[in-house]
Symmetry: C2
Subunit: 211 residues, 2 copies
Amino acid sequence: MPATAALKHDAYRPTSARSVGAPHLRPVTFHAPETVIYAQGDDARYLYRIQYGAVRVFRLLADGRRQIVAFYLTGETFGFEIGALHGFYAEAMVNTGLTTTERCSAGTLTHELVEIALKAMIRAQEHLLVVGRQSALEKMAVFLLDLAKRQECEAVIDLPMSRADIGDYLGLTIETVSRTISKLRAAGIIRLHSARSFEIVKPDRLRMMSV
Amino acid sequence: MPATAALKHDAYRPTSARSVGAPHLRPVTFHAPETVIYAQGDDARYLYRIQYGAVRVFRLLADGRRQIVAFYLTGETFGFEIGALHGFYAEAMVNTGLTTTERCSAGTLTHELVEIALKAMIRAQEHLLVVGRQSALEKMAVFLLDLAKRQECEAVIDLPMSRADIGDYLGLTIETVSRTISKLRAAGIIRLHSARSFEIVKPDRLRMMSV
DNA sequence: CGGTGTCTTGAGTCAGTTCAAATATTGTGG
DNA sequence: CCACAATATTTGAACTGACTCAAGACACCG
């Protein structure tokens, strides 16, 4: 039963949002690394679009276990909730700029909102497939390929998240994450520039592992 | 790595839908147990509301591993998709009656649709928490409590699904599901009327285990 | 440079899996 | 209604992939 302590994080630090929007554009709020964007129980008033940076959305169990339900990258939108309150936490993982839109504003938005909500649902269900039924190696393969696809460059991956984040996303411990990455490196499938920057050398080998 | 063979199922049997609607009411289609309602790749034209019965929605991996992403019971609605095609399979688990609505019809439907879609998303994300981070015992506790809450009667649970279904939903093998149920029974927390019908004797004990 | 946090690696353990077999349970034809 | 076949569930024993605990390597920052 994995359990990466997340409580030591900054879940209780005040949000360090600072508006730096250009005068006539929708203002961009800035969020420093490891700071809260919204917390479980907060009013769910806005949708957030990432201009630059990366965000994790997660939930905590009473004993500190954490499940990250999604990572969001530049250009993506998050912040859906069913009620008036957030059921999850959202934190910036690196320097992040966000623009907000009122959740319940113009009716024209509704159609787009449904699309985005459905996309989030599908992604959660696909994630379920990975977390519930795959080995550590398969999980990492899926994760890396997904990340590569969502970033501009398909070959070089910059990880905005720590090993602990990856573990809490895939349902693994940090040690297993690290060991799995080492195995992929030893097999010549990926090359590490640093702990947070990879190059996918043999994407086909990854793809073979991922289904 | 669990792998309940699902291919032997009826995924390739033709759908046995038969309309038996009363003349002036929305027609109800009937689906026999273990029959396909829609398959991965089918046109996603309708939303389905369950009048009676129970449905599983799942996805298959190439090697036959199956992940059930959701069970739907009487009164619930399923069939959301992001594109024009279904990304998942839906099968009736018992005798099931469904009413359909066009997915993209009347604008008045939209608000309700958003609500249902968001609920499905939240449920998928909560399920992620269970599958990714909980022990077998915790998973079963959450599962049973959820099922009890969604059925009329809170104390007696009629399982419309097999052990294999439960396993593929929770990310466990049928053996582990069975053993876990045996443990709950031995602890006097549940009583079995039959393999598919329980009584929750000590719901508090279950609740204690479920977080 | 020392200090602090992150990442990697090693060794032993355990929860859940696999394989195998016994026991219900359900359905079917006579 | 019963006997038999087929299916579903339970239980046992051994195995293993991922976890836990512990220590070492690395990187970043003042």
